[in-house]
């Protein structure tokens, strides 16, 4: 059974890959991707079931912070119920769930993120006081100073010369280097999976 799974996975992977290079394989690629989308939809349902199971377990065991799990399940069931009854495109649902709860909560988390980032930068020197950390902090400080809006306009030298030089030359060069590395890593990981060397679909 495991061998059969591997054979199917490898064959499907190769067929989808061929679709990117040969027009004759595009039809097969489209059909396989359609199937994959249906499976992904089913996976979402299983994922929601998993989420409910984990949080129901926490409530049943009266674990610490179990009240949040209860709120999550109530919210999930409520959103599902109203989504089925009123249809997802209903203006009531859009205004209450999306604009009234989801967007403000995510915006609050984004605000919390800014504080967390600043705190992480401060802690960095305590955790690893090496040359790279010093360069990291100094660069971040320079970019902040160069980007800050002051009553008299941009900060001379830092805002007009140093910040653009650091962010448009050094940072872009470094980012491209990292992204090339990530791309190569993703390519080789993909090939390992394609040829069954790594099998994330189970098997001994």
């Amino acid at each position: 059974m495991r061998v059969l799974t591997a054979i199917i996975a490898i064959a499907v992977g190769i067929l989808i890959l061929l679709g990117y290079f040969f027009t004759q394989a595009e039809v097969v690629q489209a059909v396989l991707l359609d199937w994959a989308i249906i499976l992904a939809g089913t996976a979402t349902l299983i994922g929601i079931f998993n989420l409910i199971t984990v949080h129901a377990d926490k409530i049943r065991r009266r674990e610490k912070d179990g009240v949040y799990s209860a709120i999550l399940i109530i919210g999930l069931v409520g959103a599902f119920f109203f989504g089925i009854v009123l249809k997802p495109q209903s203006s009531f649902l859009q205004s209450v769930l999306l604009e009234g709860i989801i967007i403000p909560v995510e915006a609050s988390l984004m605000g919390l993120l800014a504080v967390s980032l600043l705190y992480a930068a401060v802690r960095l020197m305590r955790r690893r006081a090496d040359m790279m950390s010093i360069i990291f902090i100094l660069t971040a400080a320079l970019i902040f100073l160069g980007s800050v809006t002051l009553p008299f306009g941009e900060m001379p030298l830092i805002g007009t010369l140093i910040r653009p030089w650091v962010s448009q030359i050094w940072a872009v060069g470094g980012a491209r280097g990292i992204l090339i590395g990530v791309g190569l890593g993703a390519l080789m990981t993909g090939l390992r999976v394609l040829f069954g060397i790594d099998r994330p679909y189970g098997g001994k």
Binding site: I46, G181, V182, L187
Partner: protein
């Protein structure tokens, strides 16, 4: 034509170098984060604490799938090694397909260690389906579930800062790598041993250096040199006015 040629060359090199690595395996350069990771796995079993592996929210149907697959390769090794622990590892995912594979990979790791019956499906969890809901759903795990080490490996964006903060509050070790640039800068600042760029994809090789994993790292290096040479040649040609 160039992408197809590059792909064929990569496959050819992977095959040839895998055979070569079987005869002479060679050694990997030291990456402190992986040394710490290997030590942490052993320590967590001794201390009776668990590992938390966050695989991010990279879906398998887009370009972020590579990092998710790299995370799964690491998860498999960790599951196999920590399956004997009293406190099993917990893995979280922010994408439904990745969540399914997380559970399957954990189960496969337990089966490979001949303790398949010890696997419980709630070890692999989907904690949210958007980046922030994933982070919010995962934040409580370091504090409430007796975790010694958080391993963040996969596609994680700026919301990683929330997980870094939660890990720091719980006083746990943090090892992290992501394919997202904003996430990488946060992990650089927040983790004890940062992993940069393609080091994310080397995790599997460092925990279990099989010939094919070592070969894939060598092919990566060869391609990197080819790209460097192409960039230098392009710059020189531009400078000389060839094009």
């Amino acid at each position: 034509m160039i992408p197809l040629s590059a792909l064929i060359l990569a496959i050819f090199l992977l095959g040839v170098i895998t055979i070569w690595k079987r005869r002479s395996p060679g050694t990997l350069r030291q990456i402190p984060a992986f040394t710490r990771l290997a030590r942490t796995i052993g320590l967590s079993i001794e201390d009776g604490k668990r590992l938390h592996i966050a695989l991010g929210h990279g879906g398998l149907f887009d370009a972020r799938g590579g990092s998710a697959l790299a995370g799964l390769a690491l998860l498999r090794k960790i599951a196999e090694r920590t399956s004997v622990s009293d406190m099993p590892s917990v893995a979280t995912a922010g994408d439904p397909t990745l969540g399914l594979l997380t559970q399957d990979t954990l189960q496969a790791g337990y089966q490979a260690a001949d303790v398949g019956e010890a696997y419980v499906h709630t070890m692999g969890r989907i904690t949210g389906l958007t980046p922030f809901s994933y982070s919010a759903g995962t934040m409580h795990i370091p504090q409430n579930e007796n975790v010694s080490t958080n391993i963040l490996l996969g596609h994680l964006g700026p919301e990683t800062a929330l997980l870094v903060e939660a890990s720091d509050r719980a006083g746990t070790t943090l090892i992290g790598a992501t394919d997202d640039l904003a996430g990488q800068s946060i992990l650089f600042a927040g983790s004890q041993e940062p992993l940069i760029g393609e080091e994310l994809f080397a995790a599997g090789a460092y925990l279990n250096a099989e010939p094919a994993h070592l070969a894939s790292l060598t092919v990566q290096d060869l391609f990197r040199w080819l790209i460097i040479l192409a960039l230098l040649a392009g710059s020189a040609a531009k400078f000389l006015g060839v094009f």
